[in-house]
Symmetry: C2
Subunit: 397 residues, 2 copies
C-alpha cells in the first residue's frame, strides 16, 4: 500500500544524530556523539530507597491515573524553587509537569503557532526542538549565535522583516550544541525586543544547574514583567533522564492551553517518576547534590578541553563551556567538515556530530562539530581525544 | 497581556468530565464518573519486587535515556503476544511503545491527517481521543452506534458523501462510553469498506483483556491483509495506568513516522515503567492474572447491573457490557438528561457523566449517561445505585 502522510510530517526526518549513533553500536567506537548524562551522576541508591518506600506505603499513588497538570506536591515544590530562581511569578504564572523538557517545547509550539507562522531560533540549535517545531509546519528562521549568545542586531533585523513572528526559542545556558552562554546584557536586550515587537520567548533551560565555572546569569524569565516568557526545564540532567519528567512555568492562560494539549497527548506523565522526583527534591541537600554533579562535569570538561588546548591543531577554534554537556569546535573553512566527521568515525572509530545536524535550513554550510563529554568515561575521553588530536594535526597542519 | 493561541487549540476545551469530577472531590459524593481501574486490580506486590530488583541490579537501564521506539525486549515480547492475538503481521507491521494508549491515537492523527481532513468516529466516542483529533483541527464526522457496534449503512453513506476521509476511529471491545462490542460481522464489514473506499482504521483496544462474559471476537487488525489497520492498546488496565505505557502495531511506514513524531513529543516513554512492564509480562502467569482482573470487574458489573435490572425505573434502557469498565444508560426522550445528571450529583451526591460529554458535534442532544463500576468500591456501588434507582423511579414512573 502507498501511505499518504500529513503535510506536516511527510518531510520530517528522524534526528540526523541517530545516523551517527548507528556507528556507535560498534563496541570499538568511542562516542562523543551522544548527549546522555554521566551514569555516575544519577542518584541511584537514593532513588531505589524512595521507590521502595513509595511502592510499599503508597503504591496506588504511583500506579493509578492522576491529573494532567502533574502531581500537586511536586508542582508546589517547583513553584517555590522557581520563585527563588526568579522563574515563577506568583502574580501571573502557573506551572505544569511535562514528559521531559521536550514535551514543554512541543506544547508551546502547538499552543501558539499556526502552520506557516514564524518561529525564531538560535542558529545552530537543539535538533530535538527544531524537529518538534518542524512537525507543526511552522517557518523556522535562524539567528546567528555569537560567543555571548544570539546576535541581537540580526535578531532585530529579522523582527523587522519577517512576518507572523510568534515565538523566539533560546537555550541561554550552555546551549546545545554550542555550549555557549547568553550574556546578561543580551538576555535583557532579547526581553526588551519581545516587548517592543510583541512576541513570546520560549526559554529552554535543561542545563541551568550544571554551571561549573563563572558567575550565574539570571534567567530571561526573571526579567518577565509582562508575561512574555515560557520557561521550561527538566530533571533529566539532575535526577534521571529515563524518568521523562520536566516542568514548565508560564503565564496561566498559556499553561491552561498546554494542560488541554497535554491531556490529549499522554493524559499525564508517569506518576512513579513524579512522586520519586518530589521526594528526592524535598529530602536531598540540593546544593550538595548539584555540587557533586558540577564536579563530575567540570572534571570531564576540563579533561576534554585540555586536549583541544594542548594537542589539537591550533587551527581549531572553540569556546570553553562554563557548564552543560557540550563543546563546539570550528574547523577552518578550507576543511570539509562532513568528510572530517566521516573519517573520524569510519577510519579512526571516534564519533562526533557534524554541525549541520543542528542547522536551521537545508543545505546550510557548517564548519563545526559537536563533542560531548558527559557520556564517555574519562578513559574514553583520553583515548578518543588523543585520536582526534592526531587527526586534526595530520589534516590541518 | 492578551494571548493569541493557534487556531487548532483556541477552541479546544478540557474534557467536560473534569467538570463533573470537581464535584467528586466532595467526600460525600459517590462517583460513577471516573474511568480508573479498580485499585485492587494493580499487581502492586509484584511491581514492588520487580522494581527493587531492577533498581538494585540494573539502575542505569531505568534511569538513562533510551531509544524512541521503546525498550527492545518489551517490543519483542509484544510483537510475539500480538502475533498470537492476530494483531501483528510480521510481513509488514512494526510496533512502537507509546506513553499510554492516548499517545498512539494522537500520533496516528498527527501522522496521517491535515487540518480539515475528515476523521470518522463512532458516535458517541471516547472524549480523550475526540479531543486529540480536535487538537489537529480535523473534521470529525460521527457515525451512529448500535448495540452491536457502528451502523454500517450510515458508515458507507458517509464514505460516499464526505470528502478527504483518511481515518476511521473505533473501539470495538466494550467501547467507551457505551460498553458495547462490535460484532464480528460488522468488523469484517468495516474492514471491507476500508479496502473499498481506501482509508485507514485506527482500532483502539484498551479493554480487550477485560472480557468477563461471552465469546472473544477477533480484532479488526487480525483481518488486515492490506496494511490498513493501526492497532493500539495499553498496560493501563492490566498492569498500571500511572505507568503511562501503551503500544501500537501498524504497517512499518506508519510506525516509522510515528517514531519521528514521538521523538519530538517526549523522546521516549518512562524507562522504569517499560522495563517493569516487560519483566511483569514475561514472568507472570498471564492467563491467571487476567482471570483475576476479569473476576474483579465481573463482580462489580454484575452488582451495578443488578440494580438497573431490578431497582431502576423500567423506562431506562441499557445494554449489559461483556467486559470493560462502563455501562451506558438511555433515559426516555421526555426526560432532560442534563437536569437528571445535575440533580444526581448536586441533590443526591451521586456523580454520573452526561452523555453529551461524548458527543461529536456541538449542541447534539443526548438522552444517555455513563456509569463506571471499576473505580467505586462494592459498598459505594450499592449505596450509589440505590440512590440512583430511587431517583429514576421518582422522576420517571
Amino acid at each position: 500500500m502507498d501511505y499518504k502522510f500529513s503535510d506536516k510530517v511527510s518531510k520530517l526526518q528522524a534526528s540526523a544524530i541517530r545516523e551517527i549513533l548507528k556507528f556507535t553500536s560498534d563496541p570499538e567506537v568511542i562516542s562523543f556523539a551522544a548527549g546522555n548524562p554521566a551514569p555516575e551522576a544519577f542518584p541511584k541508591e537514593r532513588i531505589a530507597e524512595i521507590s521502595a518506600e513509595l511502592l510499599r506505603d503508597d503504591p496506588i499513588l504511583a500506579l493509578q491515573y492522576s491529573v494532567t497538570e502533574g502531581y500537586t506536591p511536586l508542582r508546589d515544590l517547583l513553584k517555590d524553587w522557581m520563585t527563588e530562581k526568579g522563574c515563577f511569578h506568583k502574580e501571573f504564572d502557573e506551572l505544569i509537569i511535562t514528559s521531559g523538557g521536550q514535551q514543554a517545547n512541543e506544547l508551546a509550539c502547538k499552543v501558539l503557532l499556526n502552520e506557516g507562522d514564524t518561529l525564531l531560533v538560535e542558529s545552530p540549535s537543539f535538533i530535538g526542538s527544531l524537529n518538534a517545531f518542524r512537525s507543526y509546519n511552522v517557518h523556522l528562521k535562524g539567528i546567528e549565535m555569537e560567543d555571548d549568545g544570539i546576535n541581537i542586531e540580526k535578531l532585530e533585523n529579522a523582527l523587522k522583516t519577517e512576518k507572523n513572528i510568534k515565538l523566539l526559542y533560546v537555550i541561554p545556558n550552555f546551549q546545545n550544541p554550542t555550549g555557549k552562554t547568553m550574556s546578561f546584557a543580551k538576555r535583557k536586550a532579547v526581553y526588551e525586543l519581545a516587548c517592543k515587537y510583541d512576541f513570546i520567548i520560549l526559554e529552554d533551560d535543561p542545563y541551568g544547574e550544571l554551571r561549573f565555572e563563572g558567575e550565574n546569569v539570571p534567567n530571561i524569565k526573571s526579567l518577565d514583567t509582562e508575561g512574555r516568557v515560557i520557561y521550561s526545564s527538566t530533571f533529566s540532567k539532575i535526577i534521571s533522564s529515563g524518568f521523562r519528567t520536566g516542568y514548565c512555568s508560564a503565564p496561566a492562560p498559556i499553561i491552561q492551553k498546554m494542560v488541554v494539549c497535554k491531556q490529549v497527548a499522554d493524559v499525564h506523565s508517569n506518576m512513579w517518576a513524579q512522586v520519586v522526583s518530589h521526594r528526592f527534591m524535598s529530602t536531598v541537600d540540593r546544593e550538595a547534590h548539584f555540587k557533586k554533579l558540577r564536579a563530575i562535569y567540570k572534571e570531564k570538561c576540563d579533561l576534554m578541553c585540555g586536549y583541544i588546548d594542548n594537542e589539537f591543531s591550533k587551527k581549531i577554534r572553540y569556546t570553553k563551556p562554563q557548564g552543560g554537556l557540550f563543546v563546539w569546535c570550528d574547523l577552518p573553512e578550507s576543511c570539509d567538515m562532513n568528510e572530517f566527521c566521516r573519517q573520524a568515525v569510519q577510519q579512526y572509530k571516534v564519533a562526533v556530530v557534524p554541525g549541520n545536524s543542528f542547522s536551521i535550513e537545508d543545505g546550510e554550510v557548517s564548519h563545526s562539530f559537536r563533542l560531548n563529554y558527559s557520556t564517555p568515561t574519562n578513559e574514553q575521553i583520553k583515548k578518543g581525544m588523543d585520536i582526534l588530536a592526531r587527526m586534526t594535526r595530520e589534516m590541518l597542519d
